[in-house]
Symmetry: C2
Subunit: 460 residues, 2 copies
C-alpha cells in the first residue's frame, strides 16, 4: 500500500483506543480517526467503583490518555461524536458531532462500540424512558458522577445484580457508610464466574457486611416526590414478598453489545448478540475488525461462543486488531480462558475457565482445598481456598477458582497450565517458589492437584 | 510382597521425614524406621533466619511434626542417632545411639542425610577444629540458639556469603538492630540465583541498610579474649585490605552433600558431590533411594547435573521416594526448574531456571521490564521488575527472574510455562487476571514478553 492507510475506529474505550494505539505503533504513516459519543477519551470503566469507594480521588483520574496524547500520536480524536451509520460497501463512516455531519472514508474499520446496560423490567422504574431519580445504571464517568451525589452515610443503597460489578459497587457503597442491599434473581451470587460451592463461601463472607437477597426478583418500585422510595422484591420459590426502603438503586444486571447502528447491515451477529470475530479479530465483512464487549468469541475450553465483558480480553483483542488493521499479522489463541479477578470486602476472588454449569457436556472431576498462604509455623498466613476441575477422561485442567490470598496470581499460573492443555498429573509436579515468609513448600495449587490425582487413581 | 516391607530412612529433615510420611500413606503396614543425629524431629531449616529476626517466636515453633506424631503414624523415630555405616549387600543400617549400637535390616533404604556447611579457609577461624567464640555456621536449631546469645543491638555482625541464606540472615540481624556487613568473594551477590543486572538492582536496594563488600575474600581473623574481634578482607582486584570489627561472624558460604558414611561404598556420586538419582529418586544401588540436599539431579533446561539446596525440590523428591519405596510408581519431571524465592529488606526476589551464566551453551535473548503491580491510575501500586530469557532459536522460555510485588507468584506462572516448554510468542497471549485493585490489564509478565517478541522479530 503506497498511499496512506485510512483507519477509522468507532469507540474510544479500552478497545477502540488500544486498537488505535497499536495501529499507530505498527504503521507510523497511516491516518487514524476515532469517533466516540462520550466526552472523555479512554478511561478505565473498571476503575469507576473505586472512585465511588474513595480509593481513587476523582473520575478524571481514570482517564488513561489525555486528548493531548492523541494529538501527539497523530490520531484524530472525535469526542461527543455519534456514529449514525456505516456504509460497508462504500467504506464510509457517517457521524454526527454537534449537529455537524461527518463522513469519513476508511480502508480499515475497527468497531469497538462496547456494550450497554440492560434495564430490568420493573414497574415504575422509569418515566418517559428516563429512570426515576435515585435509580442509576453504572457504566460511564457521567453515571458515576450522578451516583456520587446520592451517596450519604447511613442511608440505604440497593443494587440489583450480584455479579462482579454489583459486588464491587456494594463494597464501594458500604465503604461510604451506606446500608447496602444486594438483590439477585438467581439462587446464588456470581453465577457467571464461580461454581455453587465457591459462590456460597463468598456469600457467607459478604453477608457479614451487607444484606443479600438471592432468588429474589425486583418487580415494583415505589416513587415518592419523584424519586425512588421503596423497591419490592419477590422470592422465586415461595413467592415471599419484601419491601426495601432505599435512597439509591443501582442496576447492575448485565450488559448487551451496543450494535444498533449496524442493524441494517450484513455484519454477522452471533447467538450472544455480539459481532462474530475470528482469531485475527476480523468480522464477516472484509476490512472490518471488531473488538471488545461488542464482539462474540470462543471459550477456550468449550469452544462455544461467549461474550463476557472482561478488560483483559478487550485489550488483547484490541492489540491484535490494531496491528492487523495496520498490515500486521497477529492471531489470538484459539478462544479465551476468561481469566478474571476482583476484590470486595477484603476478599480476593479469581477464576479461569467456565464454571461447572457451563461444562455440562464434559465428564468432570473437581477438588477444593483450603490452605494457608504461608507455612503453618510462620505467623500471618492468610487463608486461600482453591478449586480445580479437570476433564475426567483426559485429566486436563478445564476450570479453576480461588478466593483469598493472591488468588489472582495463583489463577494466572493455572491459566498458563490451561493454555498449554496441561494434565493435572503434570501440573502437580510444578515446582512452586518456596520461602517461609512467602509460600509453603507445597502451594495450595499443588495440594489441590494432589487431591484430584488421587481421585482419578481411585476411579481407575 | 506378603511380608511387611521394612523401610529405613536416614535423616529426619524435610527430605527424610516427608519420605517416611509418604511411605506410610502409601503402605499402611510397612515397618518404617528413621535415624537422625539431631535431637529434634522434622523442623524447617529455612525458617531459622526468621527466629533470629523475631518474626517467629522461638526455634521450637519450627518443629513441623512432634515425636508424638511419628508414634501415631507408627513410624519408629530414632533421634540422637548417628548412622555409622550401611552394608548395601546385606541391607543393614548400623547406627549408634547413646553408645548403643543398632542394626536395622531394610528392604528399602532412603538416604536423606542432607548437607553440611562449608567452612572457608580463613586464618584463625578455629582452634582444634572448633570455631572461635562468636563465629558460627548456620544450619540447625542448635546453631540458631547459639547465635541468639550473640545478638546485641548496635553491635557489629558480619556474614560471609551473599547467597539467599546470607542475605536472609543479614536482614534478620539488621532487624535486631545490629550493624551488618556482608562479605562476598564473588564480584556480585546472589550469583547462583540471578543475573548480573538483577543482582545489581538488589545490591542497590540492600546497601541502604547494610555494608556490602563484594569481590572481597576474608583471609584472617583477629581473636581477642578467645572470641572474634576483627575480620580482615582483601579485594580480589586491587588487593585493597580492610579490617572489620565484628562481634559476630556467620559463615554462609554454601554447603556440600553430607555423605562421609558412604565413602567406602559403591554408591554413585556425581560431579557436584551429590548422590546421583533418577526421576524415581533411585540411586545406583538397588532398593536404595536418595532425596534432598545430599543428591544430584538434572537441571530441567540444561539437563546438566546440579545440586541446589531448595526445600521445594527436597519435598518433591521425598514424596516420590516415599511412594516408590512403598511399592508405588511415581516419577518426577525430567529435571528441576529451580523455582525459588526469598524476601529481605522488604524486597521479594524470585527466580526460575538457570541464571545466564549457566546458559552459556545457549544462544539467548533477554528482556527486562519495570512496571507496577497495579494500573497507573490506582493508588498503591508497587514496583515489580521482571526479566525473561528465551532460547533465541526456539523462542522457548529458559530463565526468569523477578523482584518486587508478588514476584514469587509471577515466577510460578513462568515456571509453569517453562515446564510446558512454552514459546514466548504463545506465553504473551496468556490472559492474566485483571482488576484495578489487583493487577493491570497487561501484567508485567505480558509486557516483558512483548519486548522479547519484538526483539525476535527484529532479529529475523
Amino acid at each position: 500500500m503506497n498511499e496512506q492507510r485510512k483507519i477509522v475506529v468507532i469507540g474510544c474505550g479500552a478497545g477502540g483506543s488500544t486498537s488505535a494505539q497499536f495501529a499507530r505503533k505498527t504503521d507510523r504513516k497511516s491516518i487514524i480517526t476515532i469517533f466516540d459519543k462520550e466526552k472523555y477519551p479512554q478511561y478505565s470503566k473498571c476503575g469507576l467503583p473505586y472512585v465511588i469507594s474513595g480509593d481513587i480521588n476523582q473520575c478524571n483520574d481514570l482517564i488513561e490518555f489525555t486528548e493531548d496524547w492523541y494529538k501527539k500520536a497523530n490520531i484524530e480524536l472525535n469526542l461527543n461524536s455519534d456514529v449514525i451509520n456505516v456504509d460497508f460497501q462504500k467504506k464510509i463512516v457517517y457521524a454526527k458531532k454537534d449537529d455537524n455531519k461527518i463522513e469519513k472514508k476508511y480502508d480499515k474499520l475497527i468497531i469497538a462500540t462496547g456494550s450497554k446496560p440492560v434495564i430490568p423490567q420493573i414497574k415504575n422504574i422509569s418515566r418517559e424512558n428516563k429512570l426515576y431519580d435515585g435509580i442509576f445504571i453504572f457504566r460511564t464517568i457521567d453515571d458515576a458522577k450522578k451516583i456520587e451525589k446520592y451517596i450519604k452515610k447511613n442511608k440505604n443503597a440497593t443494587i440489583i445484580g450480584a455479579g462482579l460489578i454489583g459486588l464491587e459497587m456494594a463494597d464501594a457503597l458500604f465503604k461510604k457508610g451506606m446500608n447496602v442491599n444486594v438483590i439477585e434473581s438467581l439462587p446464588k451470587i456470581l453465577t457467571k464466574t464461580v461454581d455453587e460451592d465457591i459462590s456460597k463461601l463468598i456469600s457467607d463472607r459478604i453477608t457479614k457486611y451487607i444484606k443479600l437477597y438471592t432468588g429474589y426478583l425486583a418487580y415494583e418500585i415505589e416513587i415518592k416526590g419523584g424519586a425512588i422510595y421503596k423497591i419490592y422484591i419477590e422470592n422465586s420459590l415461595d413467592s415471599k414478598k419484601i419491601a426495601i426502603e432505599t435512597d439509591l438503586l443501582i442496576l447492575a444486571t448485565g450488559t448487551k453489545p451496543f450494535l444498533s447502528i449496524f442493524n441494517q447491515s450484513d455484519l454477522k451477529i452471533g447467538k450472544t448478540g455480539g459481532i462474530i470475530v475470528n482469531k485475527k479479530c476480523e468480522t464477516s465483512i472484509k476490512n472490518v475488525y471488531a473488538v471488545g464487549d461488542c464482539t462474540e468469541y470462543l471459550d477456550f475450553i468449550t469452544k462455544k461462543p461467549i461474550n463476557v465483558g472482561l478488560g483483559s480480553i478487550v485489550v488483547r483483542q484490541a492489540i491484535t486488531a490494531g496491528i492487523n488493521a495496520s498490515g500486521g499479522n497477529q492471531e489470538l489463541q484459539n478462544g479465551f480462558l476468561q481469566t478474571c479477578t476482583s476484590e470486595f470486602f477484603d476478599l480476593e476472588v479469581a477464576a479461569v475457565g467456565p464454571s461447572i454449569e457451563n461444562l455440562k457436556e464434559f465428564s468432570i472431576l473437581s477438588a477444593k482445598y483450603k490452605g494457608s498462604s504461608l507455612p503453618e509455623y510462620f505467623p500471618g498466613g492468610k487463608p486461600i481456598t482453591i478449586k480445580i476441575t479437570v476433564n475426567k477422561k483426559t485429566g486436563k485442567i478445564i476450570s479453576a477458582q480461588a478466593i483469598g490470598d493472591k488468588a489472582a496470581q495463583r489463577i494466572n499460573t493455572i491459566a498458563c497450565a490451561m493454555l498449554n492443555k496441561m494434565n493435572i498429573e503434570t501440573f502437580r509436579k510444578l515446582e512452586t517458589a518456596y520461602s517461609p515468609p512467602i509460600a509453603p513448600t507445597l502451594d495450595v495449587t499443588t495440594l489441590v492437584s494432589d487431591i484430584i490425582v488421587k481421585k482419578i487413581n481411585r476411579n481407575q
